[in-house]
């Protein structure tokens, strides 16, 4: 018998606001313990929450980007439970009137598009942080995180494979970053994910008992934990053991999911409308305005890159992963108009380097002009492919233009104007057909001639300089011909 996994994901994303969801405390990560708290987020008696307008707007922005139906009226509710990191004994969240519902997100998995329905997205406040010392009978609480604005995005159980879950998370993160609503940093906890999974016989429609997996610290952990859990549940079913509905923790070192040591109390959160906050209405024009103000989303970005530059879907996908990468590509192509080699260098050498060094493409400092200069030099034969690769790494590490590096080095260039003039004259004389092409308006012909000049100079000339001389000479000769 084959079994079909049914997977749903709950993502908590920290919204990029300056102040907390219901008070004016700052949201800076890594501040000293309890240095970002006030009577409101500490839950002192008598104080009251007031909603952060920007968190509300960022929530709407995500909702429209995920093509959700935005609530005409949303309200907040209290989710009640006791925990030392939860100051008020309840979390202000949204229960039956969330900000948004019924959205969807298409993700590409193995070349096919997988539609994933978004069940709902709602605003809520984060809890504080508990610290434990295994050698002490105490726990410690830092309330800096209490009240940080979160958007919880819940999918329908539409995912079937760990790879799909992974692809969904990658795509969602790309969208959230493109929207500028969150830095999505998993190490800092600004993006968190829980997964739900159950197995059922292939073809069946009823769902099996649901297992919730927590402690998923990376997208890879989500994929690995789901893979583990599918096998575990399958073995259990085949061994005629019953699967219990429970919460399990992913232990990446084992690697295995493990039942939570203390079984969670059968929770009864006693949700009821938060009387300290009023309802919030979102009228159609406001939703429309948010939709119009959306930046280019990754899917549109990919499509545009593919169509404009003739890139494959795969290449466009890689480049559109990050806004910075896409921009680097487009700006480099503007200076060196050969999309494919530019894309290859970015996807191969640049990403390879960044991945190996654990750097984020969005924050990597690499100038489009550097790549253009490097490729021009390579094209002109000034440097070998091997030298180019070495120069590329060096320019990344030293944050220098490869052209400068080349000049510094042995890669000496012909700077004597007279020598260059003679060199260009010789090439022009040899390639009259290209000259004619250029004069008929074929811009590429100029590139070809620059390349020939570089060959003749054995790479030891500045292509830009050659280009200038060529342009001048060809213009003169055309005028002479007229």
């Amino acid at each position: 018998m084959t079994y079909e996994p049914v997977i749903g994901l709950e993502v908590h994303v920290q919204l990029a606001t300056a102040s907390k969801l219901f008070c004016g405390c700052p949201t800076t990560f890594g501040a000293p313990p309890n240095s970002q708290t006030c009577p409101v987020c500490l839950g002192l008696p008598g104080v009251l929450p007031v909603l952060n307008q920007r968190a509300f707007e960022l929530g709407i922005r995500v909702a429209v980007a995920l093509e959700c139906r935005v609530a005409e009226t949303m309200k907040f509710d209290r989710k009640q439970y006791f925990y030392p990191d939860l100051p008020k004994g309840y979390q202000i969240s949204q229960y039956d009137r969330p900000l948004a519902h019924d959205g969807h997100l298409d993700v590409a998995v193995n070349g096919a598009m997988k539609p994933v329905r978004i069940h709902r997205a709602h605003l809520e406040e984060d809890a504080g942080k508990l610290l434990h010392d295994p050698n002490e009978p105490f726990s410690y609480v830092d309330f800096n995180r209490a009240g940080i604005p979160l958007l919880e995005i819940v999918t329908e159980p539409d995912l079937r494979l760990p790879e799909e879950a992974y692809a969904y998370l990658v795509e969602l993160k790309a969208i959230l970053r493109a929207l500028g609503v969150s830095n999505c940093n998993m190490e800092e906890g600004s993006l968190r994910c829980d997964a739900n999974i159950s197995l059922r016989p292939a073809g069946a429609s009823a769902l099996g008992p649901k297992v919730e997996i927590k402690n998923l610290n990376s997208f890879k952990a989500v994929k690995d934990a789901l893979g583990f859990e599918i096998e575990r549940q399958q073995r259990a079913i085949e061994g005629r053991q019953t699967i219990v509905q429970e919460t399990r923790l992913w232990n990446a070192r084992a690697p295995a999911t493990e039942p939570m040591r203390s079984k969670e109390e059968a929770s009864d959160y006693r949700y009821f409308p938060e009387p300290d906050l009023v309802p919030f209405r979102i009228d159609a024009p406001a939703v429309e305005a948010a939709r119009r103000a959306l930046p280019e989303l990754p899917a549109q970005h990919r499509q545009r890159l593919a169509e404009t530059y003739g890139l494959s879907a795969y290449d466009a996908g890689v480049l559109a992963q990050s806004r910075a990468l896409g921009a680097l590509f487009e700006q480099a192509v503007a200076q060196y108009p050969k999309p494919k080699p530019v894309a290859n260098w970015i996807m191969g050498d640049l990403l390879g380097y960044l991945n190996a060094h654990g750097q984020d493409p969005d924050t990597a400092a690499f100038q489009p002009a550097w790549l253009a200069h490097l490729l021009q030099a390579l094209d002109g034969g000034a440097i070998s492919g091997r030298t180019a690769k070495a120069l590329f790494v060096e320019s990344l590490e030293r944050q220098r233009d490869p052209q400068e590096l080349m000049q510094e080095r042995d890669v000496r260039q012909i700077v004597d104007a007279g020598e260059l003039e003679r060199l260009v004259d010789a090439v022009v004389a040899e390639h009259q057909k290209s000259v004619a092409d250029y004069q008929k308006g074929k811009a590429n012909a100029l590139m070809f001639l620059v390349g020939k000049c570089m060959e003749r100079a054995r790479g030891q000339a500045n292509p830009q300089q050659l280009r200038t001389i060529l342009e001048r000479k060809l213009t003169i000769s055309r005028e002479a011909a007229l």
Binding site: C38, F82, V278
Partner: protein
């Protein structure tokens, strides 16, 4: 007939994190039962098509701008805590909350 049994009142007390002594539970349960039996009469009012009111004021969309204001100093934030170490609030170990 009782609306709630002492055992149910004990369960509710646990949900509310209140330890009822065994002797106390009987007495408290009887009082809670008396009040519930009284307020339960409300269920006889027909309300099928009535919207619930959680707010009497016709107010909506009250927000604040996303501006930070100074927080309490950490020593002030933990000063009121019954137990603390440094700038952290201290509690008995969170072992098993159920």
């Amino acid at each position: 007939m009782a609306v709630v049994t002492p055992a149910e009142v004990q369960a509710v007390a646990f949900l509310a994190r209140v330890q009822l002594a065994d002797g106390q539970a009987q007495h408290v349960a009887a009082q809670v039962d008396q009040v519930l039996a009284y307020v339960r009469k409300l269920q006889a009012i027909p309300t099928q098509s009535i919207e619930p009111t959680s707010h009497v004021l016709p107010l909506a969309n009250v927000t604040r701008p996303d501006q930070t204001v100074p927080s309490l100093a950490p020593e002030e934030a933990v000063r009121l805590a019954p137990d603390r170490r440094g700038h952290l609030v201290r509690v008995p170990k969170v072992v098993d909350l159920s």
